[in-house]
Symmetry: C2
Subunit: 247 residues, 2 copies
């Protein structure tokens, strides 16, 4: 089973890849780790595949690139080797129970760069976990944004995408978050109360979610406490073994 953790810088991809892998190993599974971040310094896991063996953002900065340019250029340089990376991951997928993919630090590098798109297109039914952290959720329309973003990833990568709130150990009133994220009807009713242009757009977008989105449930994860890991394991199992029914 292949799981790819996708999210913005700071959403907790790398920490979670390490912690979830450890959890799976503790449950007796064999796990492979793939690092796709050319700009990461330290990893909390030992990667079986690591793009930094081909190129790092650091060496490109030494060549004179700025940080943004170095990140983009590193994936331009990785692109010719995409076939090799796909082969390595497929081989690992045949040997181990789980392959966990830790995607580039900046999410857009994965979603907008051909490297990310082509890699995902060539893997057999990977499950994408879209990680977003509680600090991006400040008002009701943000919850609509987060739910829709999972759909955008699905549209872009062509993979089943599970929305996952990370760092739930930092949230005091998690039930308030759950209500907005789990219950689209509740969220839609709440958005209807906001008369602003932004509120109206959020209301209209949220109203279409039930017909657009597969009825995937949201998972609530903490790399610190391991909360939600059993749920994610179940979701991965359902995705691979019961024809993609993630309700």
């Amino acid at each position: 089973m292949i799981l790819a953790f996708v999210g913005t810088a700071g959403s907790g991809k790398t920490t979670l890849t390490g912690a979830f892998g450890k959890y799976l190993e503790g449950n007796g599974y064999s796990v492979a780790y793939v690092n796709l971040d050319t700009g990461v310094k330290n990893l909390p896991y030992s990667p079986d595949v690591d793009v930094r063996e081909s190129v790092t953002a650091w060496e490109l900065m030494e060549e004179g690139y700025g940080p943004n340019g170095a990140i983009v250029e590193s994936y331009d340089r990785l692109l010719p080797a995409i076939g090799e990376y796909v082969s390595k991951i497929l081989k690992l997928d045949g040997e181990r129970d789980y392959v966990l993919i830790d995607t580039p630090g900046q999410m857009e590098t994965f979603l907008f760069h051909e490297f990310g798109i082509r890699l995902m297109e060539n893997l057999p039914e990977p499950l994408t976990v879209y990680l977003f952290s509680p600090d991006i959720l400040r008002k009701p329309s943000d919850f609509c944004f987060a739910r829709f973003f999972a759909l955008m990833i699905d549209l872009r990568l062509g993979t089943t995408t599970v929305p996952a709130l990370s760092k739930v150990d930092t949230v005091e009133r998690i039930d308030d978050y759950r209500k907005f994220l789990d219950d689209i009807e509740y969220l839609t009713a709440r958005l209807k109360l906001d008369p602003s242009t932004q509120g109206l757009l959020a209301y209209k977008m949220c109203s279409t979610l039930p017909e657009l989105a597969p009825p995937t449930r949201v998972v609530y994860l903490s790399a610190k406490t391991g909360e939600g890991f059993d749920e994610l394991e179940t979701l991965a199992y359902e995705h691979y073994c019961t024809c993609g029914d993630l309700t």
Copy 2:
């Protein structure tokens, strides 16, 4: 009038800010330039406001941050000064005909970080120009993705967002691109032919676009040839002077 150019690293924000500003100045307007990118080295314009005076990604990397971490941390450090940046931009807006805002290199830093959200919330009706380059458009579902992304920016920032294809001088068959981007019905009909799961999602999402999106037209820009600059000027005028009707 305030225009913010938003897009991924490499979509052409900085070059376009410079070139469009020059065009406006050539037409007799007074123009102010705002640079919000902490990681840019050289600018093709002389900034009136520049976040690099407060912090740069470079100095944070010298402190030991990786490129991704340095970018995020730089906006964390800018956050306490957000009020000053808003004031400076408002002052410029009072003095000049146009204020052009060149947003962070990585789009997600602007869309997911409180700095970007709060800045935009506090400006009077800025017009956001969502720049995407032709290389992200490989298959019909990608056109749906690009059109939807403009809507996501609108939802997130609460600003009217114009989708703009950049680097059109690099495209040989621009009419093919226009057909897919301008004519949602045509795109929807085309997507219906794709029986894959991704195709079905794209078809469903695209079908909802007419009711979700304001009927904003797409602009086609080239910083190299100046193509579309008159169109963008007209759109900005319509946004500010004719109650947001951008059809």
